[in-house]
Symmetry: D2
Subunit: 300 residues, 4 copies
């Protein structure tokens, strides 16, 4: 399958070597779009996608995401940034210009449950998950075979109560060394310390196996069973210090009924979990997710 994947990926990236994304956040006022689009026009860029949102046309925050094609984009990037900085200053913009083909550096954390990891690996193989997977970290050994078979390094880092700090030190070292900017908790059942989270602000994506804010915390399927809900769900969100309280990226649900015991809820839940996580991650990798006041703006 590897050669397969590589070939697919290469042809794919070929088509997008002149594609770039401009993300902007600034106080809402007149003329922002005009200024930005005029700039891109002068640069010879062709806008292929544009999304905007304002928290409040009167003095709110304005968000803009523009995807465009521009000849010799890679060569031009530095110059373009220098030029755009002037506009950015007048509008007090927070902004970022990134190339479509600068793939994010991703690490996947997993524990016993493998369905989310396998889904991500499959989509990655299929060339649908545009990321550079640096490695997989697990506090269990059992997935090594499947991961290494794809040529992805697998680090087994067991986590014990006492050894937790030590384990996190190892993890952080690996993440820094490989310049990882996106960490996916694919059913990683260890709670990360505030120190760890602080190292990667809004770079850690988790899949919680409930429709948040329902059933926060441990064993959500057991909670759902006890409450007798008729739908179960999954939620993918950025990890913050408040457990399960980070900005929600995506959610979905599936129908269940009184015949479902916790084991059945888990079985059905796995399908939702992996689908929701894959969807949220895709948007994150394409810079479609903007965080604002503990909520996400998703330009899907």
């Amino acid at each position: 399958m590897h050669i397969f994947r590589e070939r697919r990926l290469q042809t794919f990236l070929q088509n997008y070597q002149n594609r770039a994304r401009l993300l902007i956040a600034c106080p809402d006022q007149l003329g922002i779009v005009a200024a930005v689009t005029s700039f891109l026009y002068e640069q010879g860029a062709n806008i292929v996608e544009s999304s905007q949102y304002s928290t409040d046309p009167q003095g709110g925050t304005f968000f803009l995401r523009i995807e465009f094609d521009c000849p010799d984009m890679t060569a031009k990037k530095a110059e373009m940034e220098k030029e755009f900085a002037k506009i950015a200053e007048t509008f007090e913009m927070k902004w970022r210009l990134s190339l479509h083909n600068d793939l994010k550096k991703m690490a996947i954390f997993v524990s016993k449950e493998e369905h989310c990891l396998l889904e991500l690996l499959w989509e990655w193989e299929a060339g649908e998950l545009l990321a550079d997977i640096a490695f997989v970290i697990s506090n269990h050994e059992h997935m090594r075979e499947s991961v290494e078979a794809l040529g992805i390094p697998y680090y087994y880092i067991p986590v014990t109560k006492e050894g937790k700090d030590e384990a996190e030190r190892k993890q952080i070292a690996l993440l820094k060394e490989h310049k990882v900017d996106t960490i996916v908790l694919a059913r990683y059942m260890q709670i990360l310390s505030p120190a760890f989270v602080a190292e990667f602000p809004f770079q850690i994506i988790n899949i919680h196996h409930s429709f948040l804010p329902a059933f926060i915390g441990a064993r959500p399927y057991e909670q759902a069973y006890r409450r007798g809900v008729k739908l179960i769900g999954a939620t993918s969100h950025y990890v913050t210090d408040d457990l399960d309280e980070g900005p929600i990226i995506e959610q979905d649900v599936a129908r269940v009924d009184h015949r479902y015991h916790p084991e059945d809820l888990k079985r059905v839940g796995r399908i939702i979990e992996k689908t929701v996580l894959a969807r949220a991650l895709k948007w994150h990798l394409e810079d479609r997710v903007i965080i604002h006041e503990n909520k996400t703006i998703v330009f899907s």
Copy 2:
């Protein structure tokens, strides 16, 4: 439309005058189904639908709902009950035999928001909601016209902090007088007192405008907006003393995104609320909902 409705309803009930339902709950053990179905066979009954559920084959509770046709059912009912009592005794059954055409006596409570009431009235008009609507009670006047136009009595009972007990006394009097056995809170925004609830155990169906247990209590759409959920929902449940904690009958959700302000969430929510309530109510009216340990078994 009235004549329309009456005609539809009559022809409909005609077809079901020999249809009855037997509901049973008892300790699980061998031979229950055999005993019940043999009895029905001897009675000349033809089983058209049968649903069963056991909380645990080893010493759990067994639930059975059988719908059957039997010649001269109406005439036979009393005798049949007398006969079945013997079987019921041997298996320690809680049970109920009811005629399909013995419609439940229903009262609808509503406040300002009319969408749920209108949905129920429309389905009732269309002959799809098989109930006998005794009257509508509201703490507002504005729906009188639409309700009375359908020949349904409308009682305006304002509720003030001080006057609450008095209002509930009036409501209970009306409900008792009309022998109401099913009370629907179709977006009735007054919290019923424990005394009121105790008068109608598991006979009060509410529609809560959130995907419970998320956003319990007041202003759920504002709560959902603040949390930034990507799906909003509605939950229909039986009313108990614990606010929004009663057995859930049905739930559903709809997709939203960052552009939805609370007003938009409410707009989308109305569609879910009325659909979910109508679905839950239909099951209740057809004796398809069984309550067990604050959960529902729905033989839909």
Copy 3:
């Protein structure tokens, strides 16, 4: 309810008296967005929503919908249009500028089944359907009461094989007289003649009671029953000469199973039909639907 509705509507329109929409379609090329947004900026307009789509960045068609607020919009409109015409010319634009509060003139056609009509009337009452309902036309009398109760004229125009042309002449006369620009077929079971359709190109919205292109033509629920599908659907589309082949605006489905007879499919289908039609109509009324090569671009 009327006074209610009027009050709601007035306050609502108040808030949007300076809101306008600019719709554009033109050959894709560099600089379109820059030119348009710069123009709006010079006019002192604040863009509150912007959606764009290109069938193909290389020589395809580009579509743009911008919603903006501008001081004294109503007074300014004519002048603004005169100014914009110059830009439009350079880019060979097809375009339209419309005021948010210039409500569309709508007529609703209905036959025996009333659920879609009632849904639209309710949403209109609730101030959610921003249209000016000129009248309802039906080939049956039974909905007169409910419609006239809302102060909406009701025209009973029976349709017989021989009398069809005559009936359509009457209908067209009424539609022209009231300057109707949006015709909703809310389960109107008469097939309109090509001549009629030609009079109102892409101004007629129909709800078809199946998931098109499955089950084109008559009695779709019977067709669905025979095929044994596990989901049934509804499709709202613009009416063209090809029966059920017009551009699709919106679709949705609901789950069914082997126990559903055609009557049950119809019952479930009604909920989907009215929801889908209401959603499609809302987008149409807000100029969010653009037709291109027998497909729709929906800027929802």
Copy 4:
């Protein structure tokens, strides 16, 4: 993972060694359920699940599926069948008694697209797909590695226009040799000959990448793109001589819009295809699917 899987599976099967299923189809008449359940009672069986359906209480066909636990079930089976044959005769029953742990013998056919195969393999690994996978057949080589890694034989049987009969002969030989009773076409893009289909009546399950009966035949996503549908779907059905016309087991859909090109529809479709196929297959493996007049009754 293997040991993992084996362990899970063994413990699982342990719990069900006394679990059996009785499937019955016969002309509807009084007393069927009574007779069957009385028989099971005498055998000391405890009914844990019972589903029934009648095409028409007056002279239709009656279907019954009962799942029960019985001490020493395996030892008892032959005797029980001999006994039940008498009842079966009086009611003219077509019937089958099977042990929960007699897993079906399954073969998976696949072509280029691997997502459905991978989903099935994963669920099988996870011990959720209770079948005995005899082998995988493909007209391509690229999945050999992944399949053999799980200890499952992989047969590469290329199919050319001229060599088709020869290829099918090889396939049939393998299927017969391994006594395969369930063939899954997991996106196998070769059309099977009537001769092949005749060899395995209602034992071949296919996943069609459209919401049948919409977009029958080749390239459904391209068809869907041209028609401009707002939902795409997938359909799992039994294979008959009429292409894509066999009894439907399960269907589902996902929302799309005008921005989706055929490639995007395919990407979204893959998720639905694999989910729908897995769901349908699970029901088939648990004997929950009954075929009647080219439709399925699914006792899910």
